[in-house]
C-alpha cells in the first residue's frame, strides 16, 4: 500500500528566484523519510510539487512510474498535510473529517475517532475557534486517518505542545507498523523527531545535500577529540564540519566513511571518538553553505 516517489532534474522557479535546482532523488516506498532543511531551503516547494499543488518549471515527478500532475489516480495516493488557514472554517472537526472521508478510499473513521480522543480535541466547537495546536492536531488526524499511500506532514506539529507532539510521533510509528505507507515528515525539530526516520533527506538553498539511510548518515558523522596534531592527522582526508580548540586539545566534527581499522587505530592512539546527532550534522552541513 505504499508508493515510491521519483524526482528527475526537478527545478522550480518563481520569476527570477530558483526555489529548487535540478533535484534528482527517490523517496523509497514504505519508509519514513525525514525532510530537513533551513528556512527557505525549499522543503514546502518540494512537497507541494509531489502533492501536485503546482507544476515543476522543469523535470519530472513520478509516483509508481506515473507523472503526478493532474493525474487523478496518482493524486489520490497523496495526502499533503500543511499549516492550513482555518480562519473561515465554521464547521466542527467531525464535519471537516467527513469531507476527507468522502474522498479518501482508505480513510478509517474509528481510527480518526480514536485519535480525536487521544489528542483530546473538542468535537462540538467550530474549527476557527480552536487553538493553533488543536488545529494542527486535527490536521494530524486528517493525515493519519486517511491512510493514503503517500502521507506528507509539512511541519504538522506547529503550535502543538510537547505531550501532543509525543502522541503524534507514537501514532506515526504505531500506524506505520500496522499500515505501512510512505511518509515524508518535514521538520525543524530534528533532535525530537530523528528516531522516527528510516531515511534522511537534507536540502539546502534548493539543492539536494544528502539522501541517505538514517543509520548511514549517523555512522558517517563522528566527533574526534584528542591532541591537536593527532586529530589533524586523523581527520586529514575527512570532511570537517566544525572544529574547536582548547590549548593543545582539539575537537572536530567530521563527516565521511570511517572504517573499523581506522577507528581502532585511533582509539589506541588515545583519540576519543564519539557519535554526532543528526541535529548537529544538519546544523553544520547546512552552515558551511552559508
Amino acid at each position: 500500500m505504499s508508493s515510491e516517489i521519483k524526482l528527475q532534474d526537478v527545478s522550480l522557479t518563481f520569476k527570477k528566484f530558483e526555489a529548487l535546482k535540478n533535484l534528482t532523488l527517490t523517496f523509497e516506498a514504505g519508509k519514513i523519510h525525514g525532510l530537513i532543511g533551513r528556512n527557505g531551503a525549499g522543503k514546502t516547494s518540494l512537497l507541494s510539487l509531489i502533492a501536485a499543488f503546482r507544476e515543476p518549471s522543469a523535470g519530472n515527478i513520478n509516483i509508481d512510474g506515473k507523472e503526478v500532475f493532474e493525474n487523478s489516480e496518482i493524486m489520490q495516493k497523496v495526502m499533503f498535510v500543511y499549516d492550513k488557514n482555518y480562519d473561515n472554517e465554521y464547521d466542527t472537526i467531525p464535519s471537516v473529517l467527513e469531507i476527507t472521508e468522502s474522498f479518501r478510499a482508505n480513510f478509517n473513521k474509528e481510527y480518526a475517532d480514536y485519535l480525536i480522543k487521544r489528542f483530546k480535541l473538542p468535537i462540538d466547537k467550530p474549527v476557527y475557534k480552536l487553538s493553533k495546536g488543536m488545529k494542527s492536531a486535527m490536521n494530524v488526524v486528517i493525515g493519519l486517518a486517511s491512510r493514503a499511500e503517500i502521507t506528507i506532514f509539512d511541519e504538522a506539529y506547529l503550535g502543538m505542545d510537547a505531550p501532543a507532539r509525543e502522541i503524534f510521533y507514537q501514532e506515526i510509528l504505531a500506524d506505520q507498523a500496522k499500515h505501512p505507507r510512505t511518509f515524508i515528515l518535514s521538520t525543524h525539530l530534528v533532535s525530537e523527531m530523528d528516531y522516527l526516520f528510516d531515511n534522511v533527506v537534507i536540502i539546502d538553498q534548493g539543492k539536494l545535500l544528502l539522501n541517505e539511510d538514517y543509520e548511514t548518515v549517523i555512522s558517517r558523522g563522528a566527533s574526534i577529540t584528542g591532541a591537536a596534531d593527532q586529530v589533524d592527522a586523523f581527520a586529514a582526508d575527512l570532511k570537517i564540519l566544525n572544529e574547536q580548540k582548547l590549548g593543545g586539545t582539539k575537537k572536530v566534527m567530521v563527516y565521511g566513511a570511517l572504517e573499523e581499522d581506522r577507528l581502532s587505530d585511533a582509539l589506541q592512539s588515545g583519540i576519543e571518538i564519539g557519535p554526532v546527532s543528526l541535529q548537529d550534522l544538519f546544523i553544520h552541513l547546512t552552515e558551511e553553505e552559508h
Partner: protein, 239 residues
C-alpha cells in the same frame, strides 16, 4: 475506474454547500421584500413582484458565490487528491444547478406571492414589458432569468480565478473584463444601450428578438466557461 467518477461528487458537494448559503440569502431577501411591501403599502405606492424584485440581489449573490468558489473549493479539492479538471467540472455543474435552484426558488416564492395577492390586496405592480415578469409568460421569463443569473456566477468565478492566480493588481484587469462581459450581457438583454456608444452596432437584440439575446447569452457564458478552464488548467494551488 473510481477516479472517472470524481466530478459528480465534487458537483454534489459544491452545490450542497452553496445551496445552504442561498437558503440563508433567500431568507433575508424574502424578509426585505415583505418589509418593502409594508412600506409601499403605507406610502401608497407599488412594488414589483418577487421574481422581478429578486433579479438584482440574486445576481449579486451569484457573483459573490462565483468569486469565492475558487478560494473555498479549489484548494480543498486538490488537497483531497482531486485534479483541477475534475474540480472545474464539478464546480461548473454545481453553478448550473445552483442557478437552476435560485431560479426555481424565486419562481415558487413569486407564485406564493401571487396566490396571497389573489386573496388579499398586495401593493404589487405587474410590468409585462419586463422580460423577467412571469405574468408575461413564466417559462420564457424563467429561461431569461436563468441565463442572466448564470452569467453573473461565471463572471464572479472568472474574477475570483484572476485574483487567485495573478494577485490583486492583475486582478483589476479581470474586473475590467468582467465589467465588459456584464455590459455585453446587458446589451443582449436590453439593459445597456451600447448602440449609443458604438454607432455601428444595432439597437438591443432583445427588442428585436429574444432568440438573438438567448444565443448571445449562451455564447458569452460558453466563452466564460472556456476562459475559466484555460486559467485553472495548470494553476498553482495556494497553501
Amino acid at each position: 475506474m473510481k477516479q472517472d467518477q470524481v466530478y459528480p461528487k465534487i458537483a454534489r458537494g459544491t452545490f450542497h454547500e452553496q445551496f445552504k448559503w442561498s437558503l440563508w440569502f433567500f431568507g433575508f431577501l424574502t424578509a426585505a421584500h415583505i418589509i418593502g411591501l409594508i412600506i409601499v403599502n403605507i406610502t401608497d405606492e407599488q412594488l414589483l413582484g418577487f421574481f422581478v424584485f429578486s433579479t438584482h440581489s440574486v445576481s449579486i449573490f451569484l457573483l459573490v458565490c462565483g468569486i469565492i468558489s475558487v478560494y473555498v473549493f479549489m484548494g480543498l479539492f486538490v488537497q483531497q487528491g482531486v485534479t483541477r479538471k475534475d474540480s472545474y467540472l464539478g464546480i461548473a455543474i454545481a453553478a448550473l444547478a445552483l442557478t437552476f435552484a435560485v431560479t426555481l426558488i424565486s419562481l415558487v416564492l413569486n407564485a406564493i406571492e401571487q396566490l396571497i395577492a389573489g386573496s388579499m390586496s398586495l401593493p404589487l405592480e405587474t410590468d409585462v414589458t419586463n422580460m423577467f415578469e412571469p405574468a408575461a409568460g413564466w417559462f420564457a421569463a424563467a429561461c431569461y432569468y436563468y441565463l442572466n443569473m448564470l452569467t453573473y456566477y461565471l463572471v464572479g468565478w472568472f474574477i475570483g480565478v484572476g485574483y487567485y492566480r495573478y494577485g490583486w493588481l492583475i486582478g483589476f484587469v479581470f474586473v475590467a473584463l468582467a465589467i465588459l462581459a456584464i455590459s455585453i450581457n446587458g446589451y443582449f438583454w436590453g439593459d445597456a444601450d451600447l448602440s449609443s456608444i458604438i454607432p455601428l452596432i444595432p439597437h438591443s437584440p432583445a427588442d428585436a428578438s429574444p432568440v438573438i439575446a438567448v444565443i448571445g447569452s449562451l455564447i458569452l457564458n460558453t466563452a466564460l466557461l472556456i476562459s475559466i478552464r484555460l486559467l485553472t488548467k495548470r494553476m498553482a494551488i495556494k497553501l
